[in-house]
């Protein structure tokens, strides 16, 4: 049972998301539900989902009531956005989530780690038993199989990640790559952040107002550079991310040529995210200069999105086969769970939280 971005708008998801304290309280309460044998909670910015083994649907209702009490959402409202699945359908859902098929950004990889974290947290609390252990472990294998055997996570679908991926295909290793952020546009900042998160060697910020450049530099732990020095020091950088609001180009062909002359064997990569463009179109014609503007990056991202979408049916088929296989493996066990499950999860939960 749960709610996710498919049915729940952002304003509601904000209310549903459980803080660490609320999550701990919820798990304590859930441990008191008699017929709830096993439980794992997946709590991310796009979804709150509960995977459990219960004896009846009334148990699900009790879980829902506990959750609504803690999150402060009326049950009637939650009922409108919740999704409940049982048996094989629940396994299909978990596999789809772990494979990135249910993600807002189709095929994204982060969710796989989040599902793993959710399972590991449940393991730590001893709130999972023989059924969920098998389901989650098999789901991880299945999700890996989907990602390996389909192109559902191929390419990059965000502008910032496309830019970083392009830099990788030019420089190979970003650890020695020097990045210059030119301008303070929002998308430029995101791109600079993406470079930093992928281990770029250094980041320098230049903005038309030095104060703003210094602010950004402080935010990024970078160095600020006076805007007027940019043409003279362009050769010191490998990647130039441009996102100024200037009404004309700020990187001229002459400046780019001069920079390339001073670094003849090193390519220079311009990521022009500004509108109107910051880099003169003639720069693209220079040997060893690679220029990508917003349209170019958007096209690459869109292509990747289309390619991923084209793989969905294949991925869903794999998910269905894997879910069927997992369900067959556990169905006999589920039948005997009510008699066999040990230890008492409620008792373990209370032990682990005290």
């Amino acid at each position: 049972m749960g709610a996710n971005h498919h049915t729940t708008p952002l304003e509601l998801r904000e209310k549903l998301a459980l803080t660490a304290e609320k999550l701990a309280l919820f798990q304590q309460s859930a441990a008191q539900i008699d017929d709830l044998k096993e439980l794992a909670v997946l709590n991310t910015c796009n979804r709150v989902e509960f995977y459990g083994v219960a004896g009846s649907l009334q148990t699900v209702d009790r879980l829902q009531a506990e959750f609504c009490r803690l999150s402060g959402m009326p049950e009637s409202n939650f009922a409108e956005i919740k999704k409940v699945a049982g048996g094989k359908e629940a396994i299909v859902h978990l596999l789809s989530v772990a494979s990135g098929l249910e993600s807002q950004m189709l095929g994204e990889n982060e969710i796989f780690g989040q599902v793993k974290d959710a399972y590991e947290a449940a393991l730590k609390r001893k709130s999972v038993g023989p059924v969920l252990n098998r389901v989650f472990q098999k789901a991880f294998q299945g999700a890996k199989h989907v990602r390996t055997n389909t192109a559902v996570n191929a390419g990059q679908v965000s502008i910032a990640n496309v830019a970083v991926e392009l830099a990788l295909s030019i420089f190979g290793d970003l650890r020695t790559t020097r990045v210059l952020l030119l301008g303070a546009g929002d998308i430029g900042e995101k791109t600079a952040k993406a470079f930093q998160s992928r281990g770029a060697g250094s980041l320098t910020v230049a903005s038309r107002t030095l104060t703003r450049a210094m602010e950004l530099a402080t935010e990024f732990g970078a160095v600020a550079l006076p805007f007027e020095q940019v043409p003279l020091r362009l050769h010191e950088f490998d990647v130039v991310v441009c996102s100024t609001a200037a009404p004309h180009a700020v990187v001229s062909q002459t400046a780019a040529e001069a920079a390339l002359r001073r670094r003849p064997s090193q390519p220079l990569f311009f990521i022009d995210l500004a509108l109107p463009r910051d880099v003169e179109p003639e720069v693209a014609g220079l040997e060893n200069a690679f220029v990508y503007n917003l349209d170019d990056l958007a096209k690459i991202a869109e292509k990747a999105r289309v390619a991923r979408a084209a793989e969905v049916s294949k991925a869903k088929q794999i998910v269905d086969e894997k879910a069927q296989s997992i369900w067959q493996q556990i169905s006999s066990h589920v039948g005997s769970t009510h008699r066999v499950v040990t230890p008492n999860p409620a008792q373990d939960l209370s032990q682990s939280t005290t």
């Binding site: 295909s169 420089f171 190979g172 170019d296 096209k299 292509k303």
Partner: protein
């Protein structure tokens, strides 16, 4: 019962390289990332078979097996593969294994399917002179280096094309980073020029002692090949010849070097014995 002679092992090597080529082509056409480990393993198997075949041939001809067109093609392919096994492991370059398989399969299978190239097996062509043998082997090894340099240059040109034309999907997605290709190409360029220079120095020592035994055309062509690569390297170091133009030059030079092979490997009119070489004034 198969005859486990040199050609048998060389056919096995050719089959391995061909397997690598086919698997690589299938992966490229299906736009799937090929397993670098598997490709490396296939090339290693081919290399071991080829080494065995060339070793047996070496025993038969009592020297380094570079006495006819067949042996020269095999030895050049072997040299390129040797370098790939070092570079491929160090730089983990995707597609280089595929391209090496392509080159080795071509050199290996073409030479094996041309019986005329292997009709005359010249025995003891170096007259027991280890220096001449070393000179010849080193020269051909440098051709192997230049072969790999040409392959790296082709990869560079493809990557350059893909980045300039924003064609980054499909097989282009598996190309190595352009800076890595440039670094490897530089090292191969330096290694090739140094190896050929060393070979020419060793050869020159012998030539000075017996000028009449070497065709002047051979000397001119060999020196021209070395000079061309050396000049290209000089221009590269000075930042004059770079990137795409340099890559084209490296490919063109290798084609020229390959075409000059028959002249370079032409037999001297009469070879002095080891004793004569060492004792001649």
């Amino acid at each position: 019962m198969p005859n486990f002679n040199d050609r048998f092992w060389l056919w096995c090597a050719g089959a391995c390289y061909l397997t690598g080529l086919v698997l690589g082509t299938v992966a490229v056409l299906r736009e799937r990332k090929q397993s670098r480990g598997l490709m490396y393993l296939i090339v290693v198997a081919g290399y071991l078979f080829q080494t065995t075949g060339l070793y047996l041939r070496g025993l038969e001809v009592k020297g380094c097996p570079i006495g006819n067109q067949f042996e020269i093609f095999q030895f050049t392919g072997w040299s390129a593969t040797t370098l790939y096994l070092v570079i491929g492991a160090t730089f983990r370059l995707s597609l280089l294994g595929y391209f090496t398989s392509m080159l080795s399969a071509a050199l290996s299978l073409v030479s094996l399917s041309m019986p005329a190239w292997d009709v005359s097996r010249r025995v003891n062509i170096f007259g027991g002179n280890a220096w001449i043998e070393f000179h010849a082997a080193l020269a051909l090894f440098s051709y192997g280096v230049f072969a790999l340099l040409a392959l790296t240059s082709i990869l560079f040109l493809l990557r350059h094309f893909s980045l300039k034309n924003k064609r980054l999907d499909g097989a282009f997605a598996f190309l190595p980073p352009i800076v890595d290709l440039d670094h490897i190409s530089f090292r191969l360029h330096v290694a090739g020029v140094l190896l050929l220079a060393a070979s020419l120095c060793v050869g020159a020592l012998w030539w000075l002692r017996a000028v009449e035994t070497v065709h002047s055309l051979k000397i001119v062509v060999t020196a021209a090949v070395w000079m061309a690569y050396a000049v290209a390297l000089g221009l590269r170091l000075r930042g004059v010849l770079l990137a795409k133009r340099l890559a084209w030059v490296c490919v063109a030079l290798f084609v020229a070097a390959l075409l000059s092979l028959s002249t370079v490997s032409s037999r001297s009119s009469e070879l002095p014995t080891s004793h004569a070489f060492l004792s001649s004034p």
